[in-house]
């Protein structure tokens, strides 16, 4: 049996189990269907498989960085990677395993590496998006056509309605539902909701089709297409 056949068979059996477990009643003609009893064990087994995937990620990351270090390609980044890895592993493990018994400098080291380096760095990377959104919004929102004007108008209402200043700017408007927060909420709750529902239906039908293709081994993925090359 080729690896492809094994993968296809396991995929089919795994999908068949969850399909039957969901569709079949707990008892048929007085006989208990045992599938539900195996659900917890099977889920735990797949969690163990997931742990293997984390291990593989570690292996590939370390191998790639070691290769960079040895070959001299982008050596400074690799040195920084290994130093940071060693530091956070050391402080992290000692902080976790020793708890209150660890010396103060271990707690300080963990605080430094996790709360004062890692957390701000990740937050900063995502915060950079804010600057690009300002620049993109300024350049993209032009009233070239009626549709673009409508889009811009809706964006204005929702953007200002979602922040307190929108309510403050239109607090004087006597008709409540014309104030920005209420208008923005209506736009999100009615037209947006209808459009999102339509998109959701389309995506769900597409997901159903692709799931069936994967389950029945009709999908040609990267693994199968590179076999034999």
């Amino acid at each position: 049996m080729t690896p492809r056949r094994i993968i296809a068979t396991v995929t089919f059996l795994a999908g068949l189990f969850y399909f039957l477990e969901y569709m079949l009643p707990a008892r048929i003609a007085g006989v208990t269907v045992p599938l539900s009893q195996w659900r917890v064990g099977l889920g735990n087994f797949m969690a163990v498989l997931g742990a293997f995937a984390i291990g593989m990620g570690w292996f590939h990351l370390l191998r790639g960085q070691w290769r960079n270090l040895v070959t001299g390609q982008d050596r400074s980044s690799s040195i920084g990677f290994f130093c940071a890895l060693a530091a956070i592993l050391y402080f992290g493990f000692r902080n976790e395993l020793e708890g209150a018994k660890a010396p103060a400098w271990v707690h300080m080291g963990f605080d430094l590496t996790f709360n004062y380096v890692f957390m701000p760095l990740v937050a900063t990377v995502f915060s950079l998006l804010a600057f690009y959104i300002v620049s993109a919004a300024y350049r993209a929102f032009r009233i070239r056509t009626w549709e673009a004007t409508l889009l811009m108008g809706a964006a204005f209402i929702v953007m200002l309605g979602q922040v307190p200043v929108g309510g403050w700017l239109t607090a004087w408007v006597p008709v409540k539902w014309l104030q920005l927060p209420y208008l923005g909420a209506w736009l999100l709750g009615v037209p947006n909701s209808a459009a999102q529902r339509a998109i959701g239906f389309g995506a769900a039908v597409g997901a159903l089709a692709i799931s069936l293709r994967i389950w029945l081994n009709l999908e040609r993925g990267a693994f199968f297409s590179t076999e034999g090359k």
């Binding site: 969850y18 735990n44 990740v122 600057f131 307190p164 200043v165 927060p181």
Partner: protein, 288 residues
Amino acid sequence: MAHRENTNQGFWQRAQTIDRRYLFVLLVVAVALPSFVRISIPVHVFDDTMGVYRSIEGVARANTGKRYRKMVLVMCDWGPGSKGENWPQTESVIHHMLRRGVPFMIMGIDTVGPTLAEGMAERIAPRYGRRYGIDWVSFGFRYFGDPQLLSFVKDIPGFVQRDIHGTPVAKLPVMAGIHDMSDVPLLIDVAAGPEVDRWIRLAQPTYRFKAAFGATAVMAPAYYPYLDSGQLSGLLVGMRGGAEYEELLGAPGQATQGMTLQSMAHLLVAALVILGNIGYVVGRRARR
């Protein structure tokens, strides 16, 4: 006259093509301004945030006088990248549950979110005399695909087995009477991605629990249909949701301050868009 008209057209042409470095500086100034000038704008509480508040109040009322209290599951599926939005949401709901004595369990598919939520609970719990293991518990990061979700909802103690400190579930008083998802009337999923979809799709039809979602502002518009259908009882939208919840709790914090900064940023974007469009219209008329 012709020279003045040319100068005006040059100005409006430049208004459409401001170097983005100036835009970045303007954004920094707009966001930093409230630090120097005291600006306080009242926060309006939307119905979607109110829905989350009422859901927790409902659990608190249902638990009154009961021997075995039902729990709330708080899934912290967020990390430092969405900290600005998800941190205040998580902190607010944890604060509310600790104040009202609603027992809850913390879990997450992100490695950082549950750790941060534990820190929040440890900081807030002493104010109300709540204790770990009796009023709340954390199961930390769990690898949680669809099969694991199906296992968890069917047999919660069997799936989690131990908490983050290694204590068996059977020795945790807060987990007494908790067997499956029917003992968890409310799920609050605070996430940077579409995690709540799986709960609604796979578990809610069987176990009929209420679900509330703490979403980033980018994700939130996709979840209004779930509010309409009742599959979500409440929705916290970005930092605004956190600020509104702080308003409901009477405990203004990080999100309330952040909304002032966000207001300045949104005003700046609005002003720049107006400026660019005036320049566009003037330029178009001049070309005709």
